[in-house]
Amino acid sequence: MTDRIPGFATLAIHAGAQPDPTTGARATPIYQTTSFVFEDVDHAASLFGLQTFGNIYTRIGNPTNAVLEERVAALEGGTAGLAVASGHAAQIVVMHCLMRPGDELVAAKKLYGGSINQFNHAFKNFGWNVVWAEPDDIGTFERAVSPKTKAIFIESIANPGGVITDIEAVGRIAKSAGVPLIVDNTLATPYLCKPIDYGADVVVHSLTKFLGGHGNSIGGLIVDGGTFNWSREKRYPMLCEPRPEYHGIVLHETFGNFAFAIACRVLALRDLGPALSPFNAFLILTGIETLPLRMQRHCDNALAVAQWLVDRREVAWVSYPGLAGDRYHNLAKKYVPQGAGSVFTFGLKGGYDAGVKLVSNVKLFSHLANIGDTRSLIIHPASTTHRQLTDAQKIQAGAGPDVVRLSIGLEDKEDIIADLEQGLAA
Protein backbone atom coordinates (compact mmCIF):
# COMPACT_ATOMS: atom_id res chain seq x y z
CA MET A 1 0.00 0.00 0.00
CA THR A 2 1.29 3.42 -0.90
CA ASP A 3 1.37 5.98 1.87
CA ARG A 4 -1.45 8.47 1.53
CA ILE A 5 -0.30 12.09 1.59
CA PRO A 6 -2.66 14.29 3.61
CA GLY A 7 -3.95 17.61 2.33
CA PHE A 8 -2.97 21.12 3.33
CA ALA A 9 -5.73 21.65 5.93
CA THR A 10 -4.82 18.39 7.66
CA LEU A 11 -1.14 19.36 7.77
CA ALA A 12 -2.03 22.84 9.09
CA ILE A 13 -3.65 21.20 12.12
CA HIS A 14 -1.53 18.09 12.68
CA ALA A 15 1.98 18.42 11.25
CA GLY A 16 4.55 18.34 14.03
CA ALA A 17 2.01 17.97 16.84
CA GLN A 18 1.19 14.74 18.60
CA PRO A 19 -0.19 14.06 22.07
CA ASP A 20 2.47 14.69 24.70
CA PRO A 21 4.25 11.38 25.45
CA THR A 22 4.13 11.75 29.24
CA THR A 23 0.86 13.61 29.98
CA GLY A 24 -1.22 12.90 26.88
CA ALA A 25 -1.92 16.64 26.50
CA ARG A 26 -3.52 17.05 23.07
CA ALA A 27 -2.81 20.73 22.42
CA THR A 28 0.89 21.45 22.10
CA PRO A 29 2.21 22.25 25.61
CA ILE A 30 4.08 25.51 26.18
CA TYR A 31 7.49 24.27 27.32
CA GLN A 32 8.31 27.54 29.07
CA THR A 33 11.73 26.50 30.30
CA THR A 34 15.20 27.76 29.59
CA SER A 35 16.90 24.36 29.89
CA PHE A 36 16.55 20.58 29.82
CA VAL A 37 18.27 18.15 32.21
CA PHE A 38 20.76 15.61 30.90
CA GLU A 39 20.52 11.93 31.68
CA ASP A 40 24.26 11.79 32.37
CA VAL A 41 27.46 13.38 31.11
CA ASP A 42 27.56 11.09 28.08
CA HIS A 43 24.05 12.14 27.04
CA ALA A 44 25.08 15.78 27.46
CA ALA A 45 28.17 15.19 25.32
CA SER A 46 26.09 13.51 22.59
CA LEU A 47 23.66 16.42 22.54
CA PHE A 48 26.34 19.11 22.45
CA GLY A 49 28.24 17.19 19.77
CA LEU A 50 25.09 16.89 17.59
CA GLN A 51 25.39 13.09 17.81
CA THR A 52 21.84 12.64 19.06
CA PHE A 53 18.54 14.53 18.73
CA GLY A 54 17.20 16.46 21.67
CA ASN A 55 16.88 19.64 23.66
CA ILE A 56 19.59 21.45 25.59
CA TYR A 57 18.70 25.10 26.00
CA THR A 58 15.84 27.14 24.52
CA ARG A 59 18.21 29.48 22.67
CA ILE A 60 19.11 26.47 20.49
CA GLY A 61 15.84 24.53 20.49
CA ASN A 62 12.60 24.02 22.38
CA PRO A 63 9.88 21.36 21.97
CA THR A 64 7.07 23.92 21.47
CA ASN A 65 9.11 25.78 18.88
CA ALA A 66 9.98 22.45 17.24
CA VAL A 67 6.30 21.73 16.57
CA LEU A 68 6.04 25.11 14.85
CA GLU A 69 9.19 24.38 12.84
CA GLU A 70 7.95 21.04 11.57
CA ARG A 71 4.46 22.47 10.91
CA VAL A 72 5.70 25.22 8.61
CA ALA A 73 8.30 22.96 6.96
CA ALA A 74 5.53 20.45 6.16
CA LEU A 75 3.23 23.17 4.77
CA GLU A 76 6.01 24.51 2.55
CA GLY A 77 7.12 21.04 1.43
CA GLY A 78 10.59 21.56 2.91
CA THR A 79 12.87 19.20 4.80
CA ALA A 80 13.20 21.16 8.05
CA GLY A 81 12.48 24.49 9.71
CA LEU A 82 13.94 26.81 12.30
CA ALA A 83 11.87 29.26 14.33
CA VAL A 84 13.48 32.55 15.34
CA ALA A 85 12.45 35.75 17.06
CA SER A 86 11.21 37.67 14.00
CA GLY A 87 11.17 37.74 10.22
CA HIS A 88 14.18 40.04 10.33
CA ALA A 89 15.99 37.54 12.55
CA ALA A 90 15.22 34.82 9.99
CA GLN A 91 16.93 36.87 7.29
CA ILE A 92 20.05 37.60 9.30
CA VAL A 93 20.34 33.97 10.44
CA VAL A 94 20.10 32.76 6.83
CA MET A 95 22.65 35.27 5.58
CA HIS A 96 25.04 34.51 8.45
CA CYS A 97 25.21 30.93 7.13
CA LEU A 98 25.87 32.03 3.53
CA MET A 99 27.87 35.25 3.52
CA ARG A 100 31.41 36.26 4.41
CA PRO A 101 32.71 39.86 4.43
CA GLY A 102 32.97 41.11 0.83
CA ASP A 103 30.29 38.74 -0.48
CA GLU A 104 27.28 39.92 -2.44
CA LEU A 105 23.56 39.31 -2.19
CA VAL A 106 21.35 39.98 -5.22
CA ALA A 107 17.93 41.18 -4.06
CA ALA A 108 14.73 42.38 -5.71
CA LYS A 109 14.22 46.14 -5.42
CA LYS A 110 10.59 45.64 -4.50
CA LEU A 111 10.74 44.36 -0.94
CA TYR A 112 9.28 45.14 2.44
CA GLY A 113 10.79 48.53 3.46
CA GLY A 114 12.27 47.02 6.62
CA SER A 115 14.17 44.48 4.53
CA ILE A 116 15.52 47.21 2.26
CA ASN A 117 16.81 48.98 5.38
CA GLN A 118 18.28 45.78 6.81
CA PHE A 119 20.09 44.94 3.57
CA ASN A 120 21.29 48.49 2.88
CA HIS A 121 22.49 49.35 6.36
CA ALA A 122 22.74 46.51 8.89
CA PHE A 123 24.18 44.04 6.38
CA LYS A 124 26.79 46.60 5.27
CA ASN A 125 28.19 46.54 8.79
CA PHE A 126 28.98 42.86 8.30
CA GLY A 127 30.63 43.60 4.95
CA TRP A 128 27.75 41.96 3.04
CA ASN A 129 26.89 43.99 -0.05
CA VAL A 130 23.47 44.01 -1.66
CA VAL A 131 23.10 44.41 -5.43
CA TRP A 132 19.56 45.39 -6.39
CA ALA A 133 17.63 43.86 -9.30
CA GLU A 134 14.27 44.74 -10.80
CA PRO A 135 11.65 41.99 -10.41
CA ASP A 136 9.76 43.33 -13.44
CA ASP A 137 12.87 42.82 -15.61
CA ILE A 138 14.24 39.34 -14.89
CA GLY A 139 17.38 40.06 -16.96
CA THR A 140 18.53 42.47 -14.24
CA PHE A 141 19.00 39.49 -11.88
CA GLU A 142 21.23 37.77 -14.40
CA ARG A 143 23.32 40.92 -14.88
CA ALA A 144 23.57 41.51 -11.13
CA VAL A 145 25.19 38.11 -10.48
CA SER A 146 28.99 38.23 -10.02
CA PRO A 147 31.60 35.74 -8.74
CA LYS A 148 31.01 37.25 -5.28
CA THR A 149 27.27 36.50 -5.32
CA LYS A 150 26.25 34.02 -2.61
CA ALA A 151 22.45 34.21 -2.76
CA ILE A 152 19.44 35.71 -4.54
CA PHE A 153 16.58 37.07 -2.44
CA ILE A 154 13.01 37.84 -3.56
CA GLU A 155 9.50 38.06 -2.09
CA SER A 156 6.79 35.85 -3.64
CA ILE A 157 4.21 38.62 -3.28
CA ALA A 158 6.15 41.80 -2.61
CA ASN A 159 5.14 44.16 0.15
CA PRO A 160 3.58 46.71 -0.17
CA GLY A 161 2.77 46.94 -3.86
CA GLY A 162 1.09 43.66 -4.74
CA VAL A 163 3.98 42.71 -7.03
CA ILE A 164 4.13 39.02 -8.00
CA THR A 165 7.66 37.85 -8.74
CA ASP A 166 8.30 35.25 -11.44
CA ILE A 167 9.87 32.81 -8.97
CA GLU A 168 10.57 30.12 -11.56
CA ALA A 169 12.49 32.52 -13.83
CA VAL A 170 14.62 33.84 -10.96
CA GLY A 171 15.08 30.25 -9.78
CA ARG A 172 16.64 29.32 -13.13
CA ILE A 173 19.09 32.23 -12.82
CA ALA A 174 20.01 31.15 -9.29
CA LYS A 175 20.55 27.59 -10.47
CA SER A 176 22.83 28.56 -13.33
CA ALA A 177 24.74 30.90 -10.99
CA GLY A 178 25.12 28.05 -8.49
CA VAL A 179 23.64 30.07 -5.63
CA PRO A 180 20.56 29.40 -3.48
CA LEU A 181 17.31 31.25 -4.15
CA ILE A 182 15.78 32.59 -0.94
CA VAL A 183 12.11 33.52 -1.09
CA ASP A 184 10.27 35.51 1.56
CA ASN A 185 6.81 33.92 1.41
CA THR A 186 5.23 36.01 4.18
CA LEU A 187 2.48 37.66 2.15
CA ALA A 188 1.43 34.56 0.22
CA THR A 189 1.86 31.91 2.93
CA PRO A 190 2.15 28.30 1.73
CA TYR A 191 -1.63 28.20 1.42
CA LEU A 192 -1.39 30.40 -1.67
CA CYS A 193 2.09 29.56 -2.98
CA LYS A 194 4.85 27.05 -2.25
CA PRO A 195 8.07 28.62 -3.60
CA ILE A 196 10.09 25.39 -3.26
CA ASP A 197 7.93 23.93 -6.04
CA TYR A 198 9.21 26.74 -8.30
CA GLY A 199 12.92 26.52 -7.50
CA ALA A 200 13.37 28.21 -4.12
CA ASP A 201 16.05 26.57 -1.96
CA VAL A 202 15.22 28.42 1.26
CA VAL A 203 11.93 30.03 2.32
CA VAL A 204 11.75 32.66 5.05
CA HIS A 205 8.71 33.94 6.89
CA SER A 206 7.61 36.63 9.19
CA LEU A 207 5.24 34.49 11.29
CA THR A 208 3.95 37.77 12.71
CA LYS A 209 1.73 38.16 9.65
CA PHE A 210 -0.76 35.69 8.17
CA LEU A 211 0.73 32.49 9.63
CA GLY A 212 0.19 33.68 13.21
CA GLY A 213 -2.61 35.76 11.79
CA HIS A 214 -3.99 37.42 14.92
CA GLY A 215 -1.58 40.31 15.43
CA ASN A 216 -0.41 39.02 18.81
CA SER A 217 3.09 37.58 18.37
CA ILE A 218 6.31 38.46 16.59
CA GLY A 219 8.15 35.49 15.09
CA GLY A 220 10.16 34.31 12.11
CA LEU A 221 10.84 31.01 10.41
CA ILE A 222 13.34 29.52 7.98
CA VAL A 223 12.44 26.50 5.82
CA ASP A 224 15.17 24.41 4.26
CA GLY A 225 14.00 23.24 0.84
CA GLY A 226 16.57 20.44 0.92
CA THR A 227 17.33 21.14 -2.72
CA PHE A 228 20.74 22.85 -2.75
CA ASN A 229 24.06 21.04 -3.04
CA TRP A 230 26.16 22.98 -0.52
CA SER A 231 29.25 20.87 -1.16
CA ARG A 232 29.48 21.12 -4.93
CA GLU A 233 31.36 24.38 -5.32
CA LYS A 234 32.93 24.58 -1.85
CA ARG A 235 31.67 28.15 -1.57
CA TYR A 236 29.71 27.79 1.66
CA PRO A 237 32.19 27.01 4.46
CA MET A 238 29.45 26.85 7.13
CA LEU A 239 27.98 23.86 5.29
CA CYS A 240 30.83 22.12 3.50
CA GLU A 241 33.94 22.58 5.67
CA PRO A 242 34.81 20.97 9.03
CA ARG A 243 33.43 23.24 11.74
CA PRO A 244 35.84 24.02 14.56
CA GLU A 245 32.83 24.84 16.79
CA TYR A 246 31.82 21.17 16.58
CA HIS A 247 35.11 19.23 16.55
CA GLY A 248 35.37 19.18 12.78
CA ILE A 249 31.88 18.04 11.75
CA VAL A 250 30.94 18.80 8.14
CA LEU A 251 27.26 19.71 8.36
CA HIS A 252 26.18 18.90 4.79
CA GLU A 253 27.85 15.51 4.89
CA THR A 254 26.35 14.72 8.30
CA PHE A 255 22.81 16.04 7.88
CA GLY A 256 22.22 15.74 4.14
CA ASN A 257 19.19 17.53 2.81
CA PHE A 258 18.32 19.31 6.07
CA ALA A 259 21.88 20.54 6.73
CA PHE A 260 21.00 24.16 6.05
CA ALA A 261 18.34 24.23 8.76
CA ILE A 262 20.84 22.62 11.16
CA ALA A 263 23.50 25.21 10.23
CA CYS A 264 21.01 28.01 10.90
CA ARG A 265 20.29 26.47 14.33
CA VAL A 266 23.71 25.41 15.58
CA LEU A 267 25.92 28.07 13.96
CA ALA A 268 23.66 31.12 13.64
CA LEU A 269 20.85 30.92 16.21
CA ARG A 270 23.20 29.47 18.84
CA ASP A 271 25.79 32.21 18.37
CA LEU A 272 23.68 35.23 17.36
CA GLY A 273 20.89 34.49 19.83
CA PRO A 274 17.53 35.61 18.35
CA ALA A 275 15.48 32.79 19.90
CA LEU A 276 11.67 32.70 19.76
CA SER A 277 9.70 32.54 23.02
CA PRO A 278 7.82 29.21 23.31
CA PHE A 279 4.74 31.20 24.29
CA ASN A 280 4.85 33.04 20.96
CA ALA A 281 5.33 29.69 19.20
CA PHE A 282 2.18 28.39 20.91
CA LEU A 283 0.09 31.39 19.84
CA ILE A 284 1.39 31.19 16.27
CA LEU A 285 0.69 27.43 16.13
CA THR A 286 -2.89 28.08 17.18
CA GLY A 287 -3.15 30.61 14.38
CA ILE A 288 -1.77 28.23 11.77
CA GLU A 289 -4.48 25.65 12.52
CA THR A 290 -7.00 27.92 10.78
CA LEU A 291 -4.66 29.27 8.08
CA PRO A 292 -6.52 27.78 5.07
CA LEU A 293 -9.87 29.18 6.24
CA ARG A 294 -8.48 32.59 7.13
CA MET A 295 -6.33 32.99 4.04
CA GLN A 296 -9.21 32.29 1.67
CA ARG A 297 -11.42 34.81 3.48
CA HIS A 298 -8.60 37.40 3.46
CA CYS A 299 -8.27 36.97 -0.31
CA ASP A 300 -12.01 37.05 -1.00
CA ASN A 301 -12.45 40.22 1.08
CA ALA A 302 -9.41 41.87 -0.52
CA LEU A 303 -10.69 41.23 -4.03
CA ALA A 304 -14.10 42.74 -3.14
CA VAL A 305 -12.44 45.85 -1.65
CA ALA A 306 -10.05 46.24 -4.60
CA GLN A 307 -12.93 45.98 -7.07
CA TRP A 308 -14.86 48.62 -5.11
CA LEU A 309 -11.86 51.00 -5.01
CA VAL A 310 -11.32 50.82 -8.77
CA ASP A 311 -14.62 52.63 -9.34
CA ARG A 312 -14.06 55.44 -6.81
CA ARG A 313 -13.43 58.90 -8.22
CA GLU A 314 -10.87 59.72 -5.42
CA VAL A 315 -8.75 56.73 -6.46
CA ALA A 316 -6.14 57.10 -9.23
CA TRP A 317 -5.13 53.45 -9.42
CA VAL A 318 -5.37 50.12 -7.57
CA SER A 319 -2.47 47.68 -7.56
CA TYR A 320 -3.98 44.28 -6.73
CA PRO A 321 -2.86 41.28 -8.81
CA GLY A 322 -6.26 39.63 -8.27
CA LEU A 323 -7.87 42.28 -10.53
CA ALA A 324 -8.32 41.13 -14.13
CA GLY A 325 -6.59 44.16 -15.66
CA ASP A 326 -3.62 44.19 -13.25
CA ARG A 327 -0.14 43.96 -14.77
CA TYR A 328 0.66 41.00 -12.49
CA HIS A 329 -2.63 39.19 -13.10
CA ASN A 330 -1.10 36.49 -15.31
CA LEU A 331 1.67 35.83 -12.79
CA ALA A 332 -0.99 35.75 -10.06
CA LYS A 333 -2.95 33.11 -11.98
CA LYS A 334 0.19 30.98 -12.10
CA TYR A 335 1.65 31.46 -8.62
CA VAL A 336 -1.35 32.33 -6.41
CA PRO A 337 -4.42 30.92 -8.19
CA GLN A 338 -6.57 30.78 -5.04
CA GLY A 339 -6.20 34.51 -4.40
CA ALA A 340 -3.61 37.26 -4.50
CA GLY A 341 -3.33 37.80 -0.76
CA SER A 342 -4.86 40.65 1.18
CA VAL A 343 -2.12 43.29 1.19
CA PHE A 344 -2.21 45.80 -1.62
CA THR A 345 -1.82 49.45 -2.42
CA PHE A 346 -3.84 52.09 -4.16
CA GLY A 347 -3.10 55.67 -5.17
CA LEU A 348 -5.10 58.72 -4.14
CA LYS A 349 -5.54 61.53 -6.65
CA GLY A 350 -5.05 63.94 -3.73
CA GLY A 351 -1.46 62.70 -3.13
CA TYR A 352 0.42 62.80 0.20
CA ASP A 353 -2.15 64.97 2.02
CA ALA A 354 -5.08 62.81 0.93
CA GLY A 355 -3.22 59.74 2.22
CA VAL A 356 -2.62 61.31 5.61
CA LYS A 357 -6.28 62.38 5.74
CA LEU A 358 -7.65 58.93 4.92
CA VAL A 359 -5.63 57.14 7.62
CA SER A 360 -6.89 59.73 10.11
CA ASN A 361 -10.55 59.40 9.06
CA VAL A 362 -11.06 55.63 9.11
CA LYS A 363 -12.81 54.11 12.15
CA LEU A 364 -12.76 50.35 11.57
CA PHE A 365 -9.32 50.15 9.93
CA SER A 366 -6.44 50.35 12.42
CA HIS A 367 -3.65 52.75 11.52
CA LEU A 368 -0.52 50.73 12.26
CA ALA A 369 2.59 49.23 10.71
CA ASN A 370 1.71 45.52 10.70
CA ILE A 371 -0.05 43.41 8.10
CA GLY A 372 -1.78 40.02 8.14
CA ASP A 373 -4.07 40.51 11.14
CA THR A 374 -7.69 39.40 11.60
CA ARG A 375 -8.38 43.15 11.70
CA SER A 376 -8.25 45.39 8.65
CA LEU A 377 -5.19 47.63 8.73
CA ILE A 378 -4.20 50.78 6.89
CA ILE A 379 -0.99 52.72 6.52
CA HIS A 380 0.45 55.53 4.44
CA PRO A 381 3.95 54.10 3.77
CA ALA A 382 5.56 57.38 2.66
CA SER A 383 4.97 58.89 6.10
CA THR A 384 5.71 55.72 8.13
CA THR A 385 7.27 52.34 7.10
CA HIS A 386 9.17 53.70 4.12
CA ARG A 387 9.94 57.11 5.66
CA GLN A 388 13.71 56.40 5.94
CA LEU A 389 14.06 55.72 2.23
CA THR A 390 14.93 58.45 -0.27
CA ASP A 391 12.10 59.65 -2.54
CA ALA A 392 13.54 57.64 -5.43
CA GLN A 393 13.76 54.51 -3.27
CA LYS A 394 10.18 55.07 -2.06
CA ILE A 395 8.87 55.10 -5.61
CA GLN A 396 11.04 52.11 -6.53
CA ALA A 397 9.64 50.20 -3.58
CA GLY A 398 6.06 51.10 -4.56
CA ALA A 399 5.67 53.53 -1.67
CA GLY A 400 5.35 56.92 -3.37
CA PRO A 401 3.61 59.91 -1.68
CA ASP A 402 0.10 59.09 -3.00
CA VAL A 403 0.24 55.42 -1.98
CA VAL A 404 -1.99 53.89 0.71
CA ARG A 405 -1.45 50.29 1.81
CA LEU A 406 -4.27 48.10 3.07
CA SER A 407 -4.17 44.74 4.80
CA ILE A 408 -7.71 43.47 4.51
CA GLY A 409 -8.95 41.57 7.55
CA LEU A 410 -11.65 39.03 8.23
CA GLU A 411 -14.52 41.40 9.08
CA ASP A 412 -17.67 41.51 6.92
CA LYS A 413 -16.62 43.00 3.62
CA GLU A 414 -19.59 45.38 3.63
CA ASP A 415 -18.30 46.94 6.88
CA ILE A 416 -14.76 47.24 5.48
CA ILE A 417 -16.02 48.99 2.35
CA ALA A 418 -18.36 51.27 4.33
CA ASP A 419 -15.43 52.45 6.48
CA LEU A 420 -13.33 53.30 3.43
CA GLU A 421 -16.31 55.06 1.89
CA GLN A 422 -16.81 57.33 4.89
CA GLY A 423 -13.05 57.85 5.21
CA LEU A 424 -12.73 59.01 1.61
CA ALA A 425 -15.81 61.22 1.84
CA ALA A 426 -14.95 62.90 5.14
Binding site: D3, I5, H14, Q51, G61, G77, T79, G256
Partner: protein, 192 residues
Protein backbone atom coordinates in the same frame (compact mmCIF):
# COMPACT_ATOMS: atom_id res chain seq x y z
CA UNK B 1 10.66 -2.38 -4.69
CA UNK B 2 10.70 1.30 -5.62
CA UNK B 3 14.10 2.46 -4.38
CA UNK B 4 13.28 6.13 -4.95
CA UNK B 5 10.42 6.08 -2.45
CA UNK B 6 10.01 3.79 0.54
CA UNK B 7 6.77 3.57 2.47
CA UNK B 8 7.16 4.34 6.15
CA UNK B 9 5.80 0.88 6.92
CA UNK B 10 8.64 -0.81 5.04
CA UNK B 11 11.35 1.17 6.87
CA UNK B 12 9.61 0.85 10.24
CA UNK B 13 9.20 -2.89 9.70
CA UNK B 14 12.94 -3.27 9.13
CA UNK B 15 14.05 -1.09 12.04
CA UNK B 16 11.54 -2.80 14.36
CA UNK B 17 12.66 -6.30 13.36
CA UNK B 18 16.44 -6.22 13.19
CA UNK B 19 18.43 -6.48 16.41
CA UNK B 20 22.03 -6.95 15.32
CA UNK B 21 23.47 -4.47 12.83
CA UNK B 22 26.95 -4.81 11.32
CA UNK B 23 28.16 -1.41 10.12
CA UNK B 24 30.70 -1.84 7.33
CA UNK B 25 33.05 1.11 7.00
CA UNK B 26 32.33 2.68 10.38
CA UNK B 27 34.90 5.28 11.41
CA UNK B 28 36.54 5.70 14.82
CA UNK B 29 36.78 9.44 14.12
CA UNK B 30 34.16 10.98 16.44
CA UNK B 31 33.25 13.73 13.96
CA UNK B 32 32.36 11.36 11.10
CA UNK B 33 28.73 10.62 10.20
CA UNK B 34 29.29 6.84 10.52
CA UNK B 35 30.47 7.26 14.12
CA UNK B 36 27.36 9.37 14.86
CA UNK B 37 25.05 6.75 13.40
CA UNK B 38 26.85 3.87 15.16
CA UNK B 39 26.67 5.58 18.54
CA UNK B 40 23.05 6.61 18.12
CA UNK B 41 21.83 3.15 17.09
CA UNK B 42 23.80 1.58 19.95
CA UNK B 43 22.04 3.96 22.37
CA UNK B 44 18.68 2.95 20.87
CA UNK B 45 19.23 -0.67 21.85
CA UNK B 46 20.63 -2.23 18.68
CA UNK B 47 23.46 -4.74 19.00
CA UNK B 48 26.04 -2.90 16.91
CA UNK B 49 29.02 -4.62 15.30
CA UNK B 50 31.76 -2.40 13.82
CA UNK B 51 33.41 -3.75 10.65
CA UNK B 52 36.49 -1.94 9.35
CA UNK B 53 39.88 -3.55 8.55
CA UNK B 54 41.73 -0.31 9.34
CA UNK B 55 40.79 -0.45 13.04
CA UNK B 56 40.46 -4.22 13.42
CA UNK B 57 41.16 -5.52 16.90
CA UNK B 58 40.30 -2.18 18.52
CA UNK B 59 37.06 -1.44 20.36
CA UNK B 60 34.54 1.15 19.22
CA UNK B 61 32.30 2.34 22.05
CA UNK B 62 32.98 -0.95 23.81
CA UNK B 63 32.23 -3.09 20.74
CA UNK B 64 34.94 -5.28 19.18
CA UNK B 65 35.89 -4.28 15.60
CA UNK B 66 36.11 -6.96 12.89
CA UNK B 67 37.95 -6.73 9.57
CA UNK B 68 35.18 -8.24 7.47
CA UNK B 69 31.65 -9.58 7.77
CA UNK B 70 32.76 -13.21 7.60
CA UNK B 71 34.91 -12.71 10.71
CA UNK B 72 31.90 -11.81 12.85
CA UNK B 73 31.21 -14.80 15.15
CA UNK B 74 27.47 -14.20 15.62
CA UNK B 75 24.34 -13.89 13.44
CA UNK B 76 23.81 -10.50 11.77
CA UNK B 77 20.29 -9.24 10.99
CA UNK B 78 21.24 -6.19 8.93
CA UNK B 79 24.35 -5.02 7.09
CA UNK B 80 24.65 -1.22 6.99
CA UNK B 81 27.05 -0.14 4.21
CA UNK B 82 29.08 3.01 4.89
CA UNK B 83 31.33 2.48 1.84
CA UNK B 84 31.33 3.99 -1.67
CA UNK B 85 28.76 2.45 -4.07
CA UNK B 86 31.44 0.53 -6.02
CA UNK B 87 32.08 -1.74 -3.00
CA UNK B 88 28.42 -2.62 -2.52
CA UNK B 89 28.36 -5.73 -4.73
CA UNK B 90 31.26 -7.42 -2.96
CA UNK B 91 29.79 -6.56 0.45
CA UNK B 92 26.48 -8.16 -0.60
CA UNK B 93 28.40 -11.25 -1.80
CA UNK B 94 30.11 -11.45 1.58
CA UNK B 95 26.77 -11.05 3.36
CA UNK B 96 25.21 -13.84 1.31
CA UNK B 97 28.07 -16.16 2.34
CA UNK B 98 27.08 -15.84 6.00
CA UNK B 99 25.14 -18.52 7.86
CA UNK B 100 22.50 -17.56 8.77
CA UNK B 101 22.08 -14.89 6.12
CA UNK B 102 21.25 -11.34 7.15
CA UNK B 103 17.69 -10.22 6.35
CA UNK B 104 18.50 -6.67 5.25
CA UNK B 105 21.12 -4.80 3.20
CA UNK B 106 21.05 -1.08 3.98
CA UNK B 107 23.11 1.45 2.01
CA UNK B 108 23.74 4.80 3.65
CA UNK B 109 22.52 8.25 2.64
CA UNK B 110 24.27 9.07 -0.65
CA UNK B 111 25.04 5.38 -1.41
CA UNK B 112 23.13 3.62 -4.15
CA UNK B 113 24.07 0.58 -6.22
CA UNK B 114 21.15 -0.93 -8.12
CA UNK B 115 23.13 -3.99 -9.22
CA UNK B 116 23.96 -4.85 -5.60
CA UNK B 117 20.32 -4.24 -4.66
CA UNK B 118 19.01 -6.58 -7.37
CA UNK B 119 21.48 -9.25 -6.36
CA UNK B 120 20.45 -9.06 -2.69
CA UNK B 121 16.72 -8.98 -3.52
CA UNK B 122 17.07 -11.99 -5.85
CA UNK B 123 18.43 -13.84 -2.82
CA UNK B 124 15.46 -12.87 -0.66
CA UNK B 125 16.98 -9.98 1.25
CA UNK B 126 15.29 -6.65 1.85
CA UNK B 127 17.17 -3.61 0.57
CA UNK B 128 17.20 0.07 1.51
CA UNK B 129 19.43 2.54 -0.36
CA UNK B 130 20.36 6.20 0.05
CA UNK B 131 18.92 6.47 3.55
CA UNK B 132 20.42 6.77 7.03
CA UNK B 133 19.02 4.42 9.70
CA UNK B 134 19.72 7.06 12.35
CA UNK B 135 17.68 9.66 10.48
CA UNK B 136 14.93 7.13 9.72
CA UNK B 137 14.77 6.04 13.38
CA UNK B 138 14.65 9.69 14.40
CA UNK B 139 11.94 10.43 11.87
CA UNK B 140 9.65 7.50 12.64
CA UNK B 141 10.08 7.77 16.43
CA UNK B 142 9.61 11.57 16.10
CA UNK B 143 12.89 12.30 17.94
CA UNK B 144 14.25 14.17 14.93
CA UNK B 145 11.33 16.62 15.14
CA UNK B 146 13.19 18.24 18.06
CA UNK B 147 15.62 19.51 15.44
CA UNK B 148 12.80 21.04 13.39
CA UNK B 149 12.99 18.29 10.78
CA UNK B 150 9.88 17.44 8.79
CA UNK B 151 9.25 13.83 9.87
CA UNK B 152 6.63 13.42 7.14
CA UNK B 153 4.44 11.61 9.66
CA UNK B 154 1.26 12.61 11.51
CA UNK B 155 -0.31 11.04 14.56
CA UNK B 156 -3.17 11.56 16.98
CA UNK B 157 -1.68 8.81 19.18
CA UNK B 158 0.89 9.71 21.74
CA UNK B 159 4.52 8.98 21.01
CA UNK B 160 6.14 6.15 22.95
CA UNK B 161 9.09 6.69 25.28
CA UNK B 162 12.09 4.42 24.78
CA UNK B 163 13.41 2.85 27.98
CA UNK B 164 13.97 4.98 31.03
CA UNK B 165 16.18 7.62 29.48
CA UNK B 166 15.40 11.27 28.88
CA UNK B 167 14.50 12.40 25.36
CA UNK B 168 14.47 8.93 23.87
CA UNK B 169 11.50 7.77 21.84
CA UNK B 170 10.55 4.31 20.63
CA UNK B 171 9.76 3.21 17.10
CA UNK B 172 6.33 1.71 17.86
CA UNK B 173 4.53 4.98 17.21
CA UNK B 174 1.28 4.86 15.24
CA UNK B 175 1.39 7.29 12.33
CA UNK B 176 -0.04 8.37 9.02
CA UNK B 177 2.35 9.48 6.33
CA UNK B 178 2.25 13.23 6.63
CA UNK B 179 4.66 15.05 4.40
CA UNK B 180 4.04 16.38 0.97
CA UNK B 181 7.71 17.03 0.27
CA UNK B 182 9.71 15.39 -2.43
CA UNK B 183 12.76 17.45 -1.48
CA UNK B 184 14.67 14.25 -0.77
CA UNK B 185 14.27 13.29 -4.40
CA UNK B 186 15.05 16.76 -5.77
CA UNK B 187 18.09 17.20 -3.57
CA UNK B 188 21.55 17.16 -5.01
CA UNK B 189 23.58 14.92 -2.76
CA UNK B 190 26.97 15.78 -1.31
CA UNK B 191 29.69 14.46 -3.58
CA UNK B 192 31.01 11.01 -2.77
Amino acid sequence: MDHDNYDDGYIRGILNTVKTIAMVGVSANTSRPSYFAFKYLLERGYRMIPVNPVIVGQELLGRKVYAKLTDVPEPIDMVDIFRAPRYAVEIVEEALALTPRPQVIWMQLGIRNDEAAKFAEANGLKVVMNRCPKIEYGRLSSEIAWMGVNTRTLSAKKAQLFGRGIQRMALNRVTLAGGATDAAVRAEKPGR
